[in-house]
Symmetry: none
Subunit: 379 residues, 2 copies
Amino acid sequence: MALSRSALMKRPPASAPVFKDRILMGHCVSQMEALPEASVDVIFADPPYNLQLGGDLHRPDQSKVDAVDDAWDQFESFQAYDAFTRAWLLAARRVLKPNGTIWVIGSYHNIFRVGASLQDLGYWILNDVVWRKSNPMPNFRGRRFQNAHETMIWASRDQNAKGYTFNYDSMKAANDDVQMRSDWLFPICTGGERLKDKAGQKLHPTQKPEALIARVLLASTKPGDVVLDPFFGTGTTGAVARRLGRHFVGIERDPAYIAAAEQRIAAVERLPEESLLIATGKRAEPRVPFASLIEAGLIAPGARLTDAGRRHVAQVRADGTVAVGGEVASIHRVGAKVQGLSACNGWTFWHVEAEGVLTPIDELRRLVREKMALRGVVS
Amino acid sequence: MALSRSALMKRPPASAPVFKDRILMGHCVSQMEALPEASVDVIFADPPYNLQLGGDLHRPDQSKVDAVDDAWDQFESFQAYDAFTRAWLLAARRVLKPNGTIWVIGSYHNIFRVGASLQDLGYWILNDVVWRKSNPMPNFRGRRFQNAHETMIWASRDQNAKGYTFNYDSMKAANDDVQMRSDWLFPICTGGERLKDKAGQKLHPTQKPEALIARVLLASTKPGDVVLDPFFGTGTTGAVARRLGRHFVGIERDPAYIAAAEQRIAAVERLPEESLLIATGKRAEPRVPFASLIEAGLIAPGARLTDAGRRHVAQVRADGTVAVGGEVASIHRVGAKVQGLSACNGWTFWHVEAEGVLTPIDELRRLVREKMALRGVVS
DNA sequence: AAGTATGTTGAATCAGCCC
DNA sequence: GGGGCTGATTCAACATACT
C-alpha cells in the first residue's frame, strides 16, 4: 500500500481553494460564501460598530477628537445594521466547523444587536467576555461614565455542540491556578504596536491590542487551527495567529489595509513549537480500565478495597468489577452506591491496604500509565 | 416619616396620583399603564433573565446547585421573551419623565435582547455598565470562563434628552478623584444582607446587593426623585431609595415578596443629607495573572525562569504556563514539582536573569500592579 | 478569646467516549 | 445517532464547631 489513508486525506480536493494564511480582498459576505463549508475552527470578528456620533467631539482644551467616522461605519438605521449583521453571521456560520466557535467584539452601540442576531441564527452563547481597558479615553464632557470596556461574545455554532475547544487548564494555570474569569484587563493598542502611516497618523481607527487576541486564540484554538477574520483591517488576528502557530484567513475590502497587514504579518516570527504546547489536565490523560490493574498484577482478584475512612469494603472480582454486599458493578457505581450518591470517582474513593498503609487506587492507575508511556503505547 | 404596612399597600386613587413609596401588587405592564404619564425620574429594572438551564448541575463535591428554576423565568422562545420585553419597556417609557433614565440589569442570556429592544423603542443608550462580581460562582465543569459579571444598560428616554441627571462630580469624588468607569466591582448579596425565611433559606433567588443599587441611584438621581422598580422582588431598590432620601414605586406580583419588602423597607432609616456619598472599598492587592507579564511584554514566550540557586530551569510558554521536562503547568505547580513539594509560591520562587542578575518575577508583578494603580483600574 | 478546620452557598444556558 | 458508562470538575464569603 503506497499511500496511507492519512496522506490521502491531507491532500485538499482539486476543486477546493487553498485559502490558509491568505488575505482575501472583497466584501466579507461574498468572500465567505466562496469558502468551503465547515472549514474553519474559529472566527474572530471585529465588525463596524455603527457608531452614531452627533457632531464633532472636542477635548477640554478644544482639540478635536479623531472620531471613527469612516464610511464603513455608517448605517442608515438599526434595521440596515441588523440586515448587514445577519448576512455576515449567516455566511460565517456556514464556514464554521460543527464544533467551531465564534468571537465578536463590540461596544454598546452594536453589541446588543449582534448578540440578539447570534441567538436568532442558532448560535449558542458560551460567555460574554468584558475587555476592561486599563487606559481608556476619558469622557470629555463629564456627562456619562467613562466608557472603559468593550464586550466580546463567544458562541458555539449550535446549542448542542459540546466538543468545542476550550483550553481550560491552560487558562487556569496562566491565572494563578484559579479559573479565568469573564473580565479581562488589557491596555488599548498604543505606542510601538499601533500601526502608523508615513505622516505618523494611525493607520486604522480601531486597531485591537495583540494581547487581547492572543488570549482569545490561546483559550479557544489549538496549534494548527484555522482562524477566520472577516473584518481583517490591518491584520492583528493574522499576526497573532501566525505568532501562535495558528493559520489565518483574512477578508478585507481596503487595499491599503491589506498592504499594511501583509507587511506586518510577514515580519512576524512563529514562536518555537515547545512554547506553543497547551497545558492539559487529567481530562487529557489516557483512559485506564480498572481491569488493567488486575491484568498488570497490581491488584489480585479477591483483594479488598476500602474508602479512606475504612467505612466501606469492596471485593475485587476477576472481571474488573467490584462487589459490596450483593451489589456488583464498576468501582464508580459501587462507590456511589455505598455513599448514597448519584456519582463517584472510584479512582480516588477506593484504596488498597498494604502493611497498614492505605493507597488510593488512583496511584496504581498512575503506575499503569507510566508503563504505557514507556512502552510507547501512549504518544 | 413613618411607614405603616397598611400605608404601603394602599392603591393610589386614579384622580390624585399619590403613588410615592408604595408597592403595587400586580403585573408590571398593567400597573405601569395605571400610573400617570411622565411621572418618574428613574426606572431600575431587574427583569427575568430567561435562563435556559438543562439538567441538574452538581459541584465537584456532588452537592446540587440550587438553580433559578422559578416559573417567572420560563419563556417559550426568544420571540416570547422579546414580546414581553417590548411590552414592559414600552409601558416604562410612557411613565418616564422626558429627562428620565432607565437602568436594566441582565446577563448574556437576555441582555442583548433587552438592549436591542431599548434601541428599537427609541431609548438612547448612555452607557453599558459591567458589574464585576468579586465572588462569583465558579464554572464547576471547567467548560467555559467563570461567568463573573452582569451587565447593566443605562439609557435616556430619547436620543435628544440632554437634561438627564448624572452626578459626575459626586461619582468622580467617590472614585479617588478620577472619572467613574463603566466597570464596577461589588460582591454578590450574601451574609446578613441576604433575606432568609424562617427555615434559613434564601427568600428570593436573585436578590441584588444594595451597594450596586446605591451607586446607580447616587449616579443618576437627586434626593427627592422618584425611582420606579417594575420587578420589585424583595424591595432592594425601595430600601436603598429610602435610605438615600429618594422616593420609590415598586411593582410586584408575589404577595410573599411584597410582605418581605414592606418589612424590610420599614426598618430602613434615611441617611443624613451629608452622608450620601458612597464609600469605595479597594481590595488589598489585585490578582495578577502570570499571563499578564507576558502580555505586558515583561517576559517573552520561550524565556527561561530559574530559582534563586539556579538549580532548576523552566521555560515560559505563550499561554502563560511554564515547562520543566515534560511537565507543563502553572508557575506554582511546576515550582512545587521540581522541589518535590506539594505547594510553592511561583511568584517568589522563580526568577528571570538579565545581565547576570536574577530578579524574582514577583518584582515584575509589582510593576504590573503599579501600572494598574496608576491607571485607577484596581478597584 | 482567638485561631483553625470544616461545611455551605451563589442568576449556570457546565461531558466525552464507546458501542 | 441514541444509550450507557466512565470519571472529571470549584472560588470567595460566610457560618459553625472545635482547639
